[in-house]
Amino acid sequence: MEFPILSALVLTPALAAAVVMLIPERRREVIRPLGVVLSLLPLPLAGVLFAEFERGEAGFQFVERAVWIDRLGADWHLGVDGISLLLVVLTTVLVPVALGASMRVDHRVKLFVAMNLLLEAGLIGVFLSLDLFLFFVFFEVILIPMAFIIGIWGSENRIYAAVKFFLYTAFGSALMLAGIIALAFIHRDQTGELGFSYLGMLGLDLGPDAQRWLFAAFALAFAIKVPVFPFHTWLPDAHVEAPTAGSVLLAGVLLKLGTYGLLRFNLPLFPDAALDFVPLMAVLAVVGVIYGAAVAIVQPDLKKLVAYSSVSHLGFIVLGTFALTSQSLQGGVVQMINHGLTTGALFLLVGMIYERRHTKLIADFGGLASSMPVFAGLFLFIAFASIGLPGLNGFVGEFLILMGSYPTLPVYTIASAVGVILAAVYLLWAYERVFTGKITNPANKGLSDLSIGETLVFVPLVALIILLGVYPKAALDVIQPSTDAVLSRIEAVTEYRAPDPGGPGFVLSGGGG
């Protein structure tokens, strides 16, 4: 039998968490480095997965299947395709980064490390599940470590934020559970056995009404997670109160569960309904893009600014997802990765300045570039990546989304392009206020620049930002077959025909298809 690499990816962090819990709490000096080392274990696995992944294949690879709960028809069914592969890699990169940047967590260190590792196991599990029951289990279980991370190690309003985060997302998933139960029984009625297999669900014949209800149930769960406007109100609270590691993983990976779910479940499982919902989702996406950016501009708090920028960026991804063209879908997936890298990095930076000054208010800063040149340089670099400067990763994703969305949703695309400009406004203006000019506040004098350890944390992120910027083909080769398969699935069962790929977007995506 082949080595069950996907199970290993899910279980390694979970076992690592158990190992950490066995160490006595007072051995802090052991726990912290050990946590980072343990969190690095899944990384080589993900590397092997990326290397061995068969390019040009649309279907699921490395599939593992074993009966889990016989009576309920639930299986331990894992598989990876072009959509999930990079998200898994992103998760395995970001967790060690987040832990590496949390060396200053000083109470309940053991629990902190264990919760982060459990979170990693859950996140990887969500992306790899091919069984809806299993998917739901991972999707829901993630809430607990995340709520703990916010609730124990967050700032003053942490409890409010943790509970709000938990209740909002739990509400969404409750309705999705009803949808999953309904699907399982439809599966039983049509095939004779109760089952939650994703592939089996694809073969079901769902009436238009059923599709609409199910689409709504799933979409609500994912829209809250993304968050799509107007379900975004939990996000700023959670981000602002969360500790740095929490913010990094929340923005970097957790939000992607929503966009991933829309692409993985809503489009292929309920294609007719998806077409009906395109206008609604597109409007909400565009409102999110502009609203998020506009609110980000006026934030006095640096962390809140980054939080609202997430609302804006994820609006782009939702727009790309529902524009239903080859490039827009690819752009959506690329942008999920990009946003994870850049926003994760921005939260790290905000966390580091907060550790030095114990404030996140933009007005308290000014002229930091002179006292912290490395920090300022990194911030500017990441800001450029986030804005979409050509040559860096953000450009590729936004360009593909705008390019790909224009043929099917021209008006929305033009409207959301405003968001690109606003992104430059809020990030560069924030940069100007924080870093440029003379130091006016004496507290900002003599701040220590980033230490070697702190700088090292950024190395993988910066490397990936540049790599994806100059050689996006590495990612697109993986993504395209699977996103195209989503489109062909929609075309196969509905009247919808995606516009022919062509133009520069096509060149960028490296041909094929």
Binding site: V141, A178, I181
Partner: protein
Amino acid sequence: MIDVSYLSAAPEMMLVLGAVAVLMVDVFAKPPPRVHGWITAAAYLAAGASIVLQWQRLGAGGGGLSFGGALVLDPWAAAVRAVLLVVAVLGTLCAWEMLAGLGRRMAEGVSLVLVATAGFMLMGASVDLVMVFIALEIGSIALYVLAGIVRSSPAGDEAAMKYFLLGAFASAIFIYGGALAYAGTGATNLFDIERFLNDYLVARPAVILIGMALLVVGMGFKVTAAPFHSWAPDVYQGAPAGVVGFMAAAAKVGGFAALVHILFIGFARYQGAWSDGLAVIAALSVVLGTLLAIGQSDVRRMLAYSGVAHAGFLLTGMTAGAPAADGLLFYLATYSVMLVGAFAAVTAVSGPAGAGSSFDEYRGLGRRSPVAAAVLALTMIAMSGMPLTTGFIGKFQMFASAWDGGYEWLVIVGLAASVAAFFFYLRLVVLMYFRPGEENGRDPDAPLPLPVTIRWVLLFSAAVTLVFGIYPGPLLGLLTRV
């Protein structure tokens, strides 16, 4: 002619023998608590052995009616006994310190626990309404006394009084329902009632339906279904901490065990009617239990209202009728273990005989007693229905059954309530972990003493909740194989 199969009542006999032995030894020898412990353990072992024999008999195709059709040996009865035995063992361990503290009256307390267990076990085996009633009274009366067994506690007296009055009221309603059912069908035996309803077309079924409804209401009291739940918060709050978990779990298992026989066998023909009725009670219980639990400032009252909601979830599954039985058993078994585990933690916090458990006492428990806090948090998370705990698997089966039975609306209500329920379940977790403990003037790091019996209960409860939450197959198989 009376057909007697001693095996079909053997577990109860063992427990009652144990109770008698405890009392007699106490009269003649005045032994230390340890001796009562050995006798109780022997009684539980003998009961467990008889349950295994019953399973073997069933596996060999045996079983069936005995004692003039009053008792049945069927898979349901055997499995319910196994669940109750586990509850009783855990409950005894949890209450041990309280019982040992009773001094001269310890034997009384121990034998009451044994007798109560025997009564509720009998409820799961009774298929005659008269027998159900007798079993119900055996179990309930023992519980009334247990609620007030700590004489120095006024709260305990109040709890016992309330429990007794409302319990007696419920029993009266139940027996009246039985009388009406007898008037309508000429039988008290559930199989005879079933036969009558199948053989005759009842032109005016009103009497039978009212009888059936009253039977459900009577049991509704016992399982704390809304709107018949009003006694539960007061009793859970006032009774000595050690015994509440046992009390709550055993009564719920016994009540549902009887209800399943009554409705699934006796009144199977009227499933259309009772399904709708149960659905209404289920919705009420889920919604009221959840909403009222949110406002509580006492952990035990909160757990009582959450128990109302859980009765609602169980009833949600019951609407589907016989196909839901396996799921019901899993839910009852795992919920009981969670409940006893949670009350074991409550016992550790409020002391073995204490009454009342204000939320404030749980502040910073994560530091004071990592084990108690972790298990309490786990049971709360499990009760809220989070995946990877038995709570999720149980709830999922209830929802799936109801959905399959055509009660989609009930599932939606249940899911919505589950989300609202996170409020109060999380509140406890928040207090224990997210808030420091200095604020109530106690040393935040003063470790909480954890008696070894309580520790066992906590660990067992956590293990069952997690292991069978992650991999429920073996437990599902065990509970349905017989």
